[in-house]
Amino acid sequence: MTLSPSSDSRSIRAARHARAALSRASRRAVVAAAVALGATFLMGNHAFAAPAVGQQAPDFVAVDTGGAKHKLSDFAGKFVVLEWTNPGCPFVRKHYNSGNMPATQKAATAQGVVWLSVNSTERAASDYLQPAALDAWMKSQKAAPTAVLMDEDGVIGQAYGARTTPHIFIIDPKGMLVYAGGIDSIASARPDDIKTATNYVNQALGEAFGGKPISTAATRPYGCSVKYKS
């Protein structure tokens, strides 16, 4: 089935990382530098103009919490959800502690959607989490993203114009940005509001898979400001 996420490639990746455990730290530094360079190069002129809905989503390369590299264009042919996250933010905790975000992630990945959680919190921020700690937090929340990407330099976040945590972007199989905005329709920190809110990710993916236009393609994201490196 073309829609299933590549779990075998994940296990191969895991094996590769076990072998490379010794050199991991130094390798990550090298990769991160290369990625930052590559990302800047890939983004070129787009560095200061975030894509609007209906425009091509900027390509990027990023390292996940396990140290593996992911390139957006490698996911061509699939829907990709980018979710900006920061466990220190009460709005992020609202959607994780309630189980809403993990459930949304599971529903999406079960349909073959690639879900990338992105952390653009700068290293100097008080709530910055090391990759291992972020990974552990995600696991403790029973989160189900395809990968959790580290973006401490904020290159990806700024390329997309990510402003809040959470802030959601959906990219279609042709690489177009088809949704940008909030996780749901009620901007609040109250978990009780989740059940009455419209989950825009579920709605947009449901419409896209049903061959319908996305009825709500741009919404106001709400949450904490992304703590970018200044």
Partner: protein
């Protein structure tokens, strides 16, 4: 959450959190009386570096929310937001307040206000309760809330916080003389304001749009956006937000002097509601699906003809092969029915008698098979034609439709009752026709195949019914294949006997066992009904399933009553039919209702009834005008209209005075009936508001529903 702990204590006028001190304050210099100025407000004192937000919070953040509880006769106005400041957060920017801010709210005291009886002290008070929630941020953000109470003395002045209210008043933007003008040009917004006072001329102004998600909030003046003065006219060019989610036709905006330019006692800011000209850059929201995904989706759609939505009740996933096998077995079983088996037995004994003429037997077997198959296919084709005609009349042949599930349950109940012997289907052809014999032996065998189907029709009908039930969701070709399998099953014993004469001798003799078998077969049919009722229960809830069962019992009684003779039949059948009709009219709707969370809400609010085309016809038929709100949870405009115009007391009073029935059609889940109704009104989406009076053409109101418009439309009834 740190703030929550604060709420445990008894509410007073002050809530203190680690980040703010919030106090409910009041200003009523002339006491509390109709017409006197009465102000209340939340005063927030922030810890250094912390801030809360303006009505448009900017790139992140949430505006402070105030929810008042006031005695009847007292109404709270909107927050009179003081001019905010722009708070840069890295490369983002917010609009909000640091230091101390007072968010004042005017209270309107009407002459209906009855102050509570004074207890002991003698002084009457106006009790104000406030539930407020605010988001306070430095770099990190903490959502906080608090409950406040305050008792305002009616007599005597409350002016303890005069200075703060005066300061908040001074920080209000003044209305500008003209509306100003905003033009969308490419990816920028051209703003032109006239009528600013001379004291502001030549100064650099701050720009605060009240509509969020419109301009790039973090754009820096002089660098990313420009402003200039031509005499008394201020113009500015502002960059639009990359991910704009609002495209208003009117932009309320505030311009403010820089803090350094503000003079005590002089206005600091001005507000205008500028009409927007030009067209907002369009977005292309349609998601492109890759060819591989499209193919996979098409394959899914072919195996499950109904919608791919995942949260629908389980569907019968009978694959075509299983269905074909079932039909074949059904056809074979049909041979053992009392109306078929004797014919088969006579014909097979004929084979046994003319032993030896093998080629003639084979020809006879093939001709008989052809006759059976052709007549079964003809019947199947006729049923499919009926189905197609029905589809054109608007039936939705999907098992998600409770109506189809209920109809299938009724069909299978009838089949079960027939097999159980409660009633018999009539024979399809008169016996005289059946006795006509052709001279040519092959034509004779072909005809006897046709006649086997016709003569056996009392028994064939249930088996055809089962095939039709299975075929109901299938495309025509597959459905016909199913009927063909049934025919093949029916013809198979004779066909096989034609080739292997020994088979004929293996058959049992006709006898009472045939009736026993037939009655036994009633139980699988009733089991199918049980399953269908369960499916319906998923769709229509326990009420729907219960109603269906009650109606099925009634239907069984009607069928039984029709088998009676003479006067008894007339009396009992009439009574049972009448009772069934009453029951169906009273609770029949339960079956067809789709249960979803919205229905609970709809029944809780008595004013709004759930929409259905039948209900509209019923109400208008009874002479009552109806107002229909086509809405959806995901439609922001709908929610806005619902909370603003459709919750407005005056508007609702007009609805009541005209005795208008209010129906709500919730399109949150795509509903074919609502889609059809929208299409009929020339629309493809929500919001849509229709006022329909009996005998008049429906009036379609605008999508952004105005109070005046609704009231005018109601007045015209």
């Amino acid at each position: 959450m740190p703030a929550a702990a604060q709420l445990a204590s008894r509410p007073g006028a002050v809530v203190t959190t680690p980040h703010v001190r919030a106090e409910l304050v009041a200003h009523a210099p002339e006491g509390v009386a109709p017409g006197a100025p009465v102000w209340v407000g939340l005063q927030i004192t922030h810890q250094p570096e912390w801030h809360t937000y303006w009505k448009n919070a900017g790139d992140s953040g949430l505006p402070t929310e105030l929810n008042w509880t006031l005695p009847s006769g007292v109404a709270a106005g909107d927050i009179a937001w003081p001019v905010p400041r722009k708070i840069p957060v890295g490369n983002l920017a917010n609009y909000g307040y640091e230091g101390t801010v007072l968010l004042p709210v005017p209270l309107e005291v009407s002459s209906n206000f009855k102050p509570p009886l004074a207890l002991g002290t003698g002084a009457s008070t106006l009790d104000v309760r406030l539930k407020a929630s605010w988001l306070v941020c430095r770099k990190e953000c903490i959502p906080e809330e608090g409950e406040f109470t305050l008792a305002l003395p009616l007599q005597g002045s409350t002016a303890l916080h005069k200075a703060e209210f005066d300061a908040a008043q001074a920080a209000q933007p003044l209305p500008l003389g003209g509306p100003g003008a905003v033009e969308v040009s490419g990816n920028s917004l051209q703003v032109r304001l006239e009528g600013l006072p001379a004291s502001a001329h030549g100064k650099t102004l701050g720009f605060f749009p009240e509509t969020p998600e419109l301009i790039r909030t973090a754009a820096e003046p002089g660098k990313d956006w420009t402003q200039s003065w031509q005499g008394g006219t201020w113009t500015a060019t502002l960059p639009l937000a990359d991910q704009r989610s609002a495209s208003p036709t009117t932009l309320p905006l505030v311009v403010a002097l820089a803090e350094a330019d503000r003079q005590p006692g002089q206005p600091v800011a001005w507000r205008a509601e500028a009409p927007v000209s030009g067209s907002w850059p369009a977005a292309a929201p349609r998601a492109e699906v890759s060819p591989a995904l499209q193919a996979a989706l098409a394959a899914n759609a072919a195996t499950a003809p109904s919608s791919p939505a995942s949260d629908l009740p389980p569907q019968p996933t009978v694959t075509l092969m299983a269905a074909l096998l079932g039909a074949l077995l059904g056809g074979l079983l049909l041979n053992l029915m009392p109306c078929v088996f004797p014919i088969l037995a006579i014909k097979l004994l004929g084979f046994a008698r003319q032993a030896g003429n093998h080629s003639a037997h084979r020809r006879a077997g093939l001709a008989y098979t052809a006759g059976v198959m052709l007549s079964v296919l003809a019947l199947g084709g006729a049923m499919l034609a009926l189905r197609a005609a029905g589809a054109q009349l608007g039936w939705g042949f999907q098992l998600q439709s409770p109506a189809v599930v209920a109809a299938l349950a009724a069909l299978f109940t009838l089949i079960g009752l027939n097999l159980a012997g409660v009633f018999e289907f009539g024979r399809a052809a008169p016996l005289s026709l059946c006795s006509a014999q052709a001279k040519h032996p092959i034509a004779n065998d072909f005809l006897s195949g046709v006649l086997a189907v016709v003569i056996a029709s009392p028994c064939t009908a249930p088996f055809m019914g089962v095939s039709l039930g299975l075929a109901i969701g299938l495309p025509a070709a597959q459905a016909l294949l199913l009927f063909a399998a049934l025919g093949l099953g029916l013809a198979l014993p004779y066909l096989v006997a034609g080739f292997i004469p020994a088979v004929a001798l293996l058959l049992p003799r006709p006898g009472p066992w045939m009736n026993t078998l037939r009655r036994l077969l009633a139980f699988p049919m009733f089991a199918t009904v049980a399953w269908l009722v369960w499916v319906l229960g998923q769709q229509s809830g326990i009420d729907g399933a219960g109603t269906l069962l009650a109606l099925l019992v009634c239907m069984a009684a009607v069928v039984w009553a029709l088998t009676l003779r003479g006067r008894t039949r007339l009396v009992i059948a009439t009574a049972v039919v009448a009772f069934t009709a009453v029951l169906a009219a009273a609770i029949g709707r339960n079956v067809l209702q789709t249960v979803e969370p919205a229905r609970l809400a709809a029944t809780a609010g008595q004013r709004w009834q759930p929409w259905s085309a039948e209900r509209v016809a019923e109400l208008t038929g009874a002479g009552q005008p109806v107002f229909i709100d086509f809405t959806a949870a995901w439609c922001v405009t709908c929610q806005y209209n619902k909370k603003a115009t459709l919750a407005d007391a005056e508007v609702l009073a007009d609805f009541d005075s005209k005795k208008v029935a209010m129906l709500r059609a919730d399109w949150t889940r795509r509903d074919p009936a609502i889609t059809a109704a929208l299409t009929a009104l020339g629309r493809s989406g929500v919001p849509l508001y229709v006022l329909q009076a009996p005998g008049k053409a429906p009036v379609v109101l605008t999508e952004i529903l105005g109070k005046a418009e609704v009231r005018a439309a109601l007045a015209a009834l």
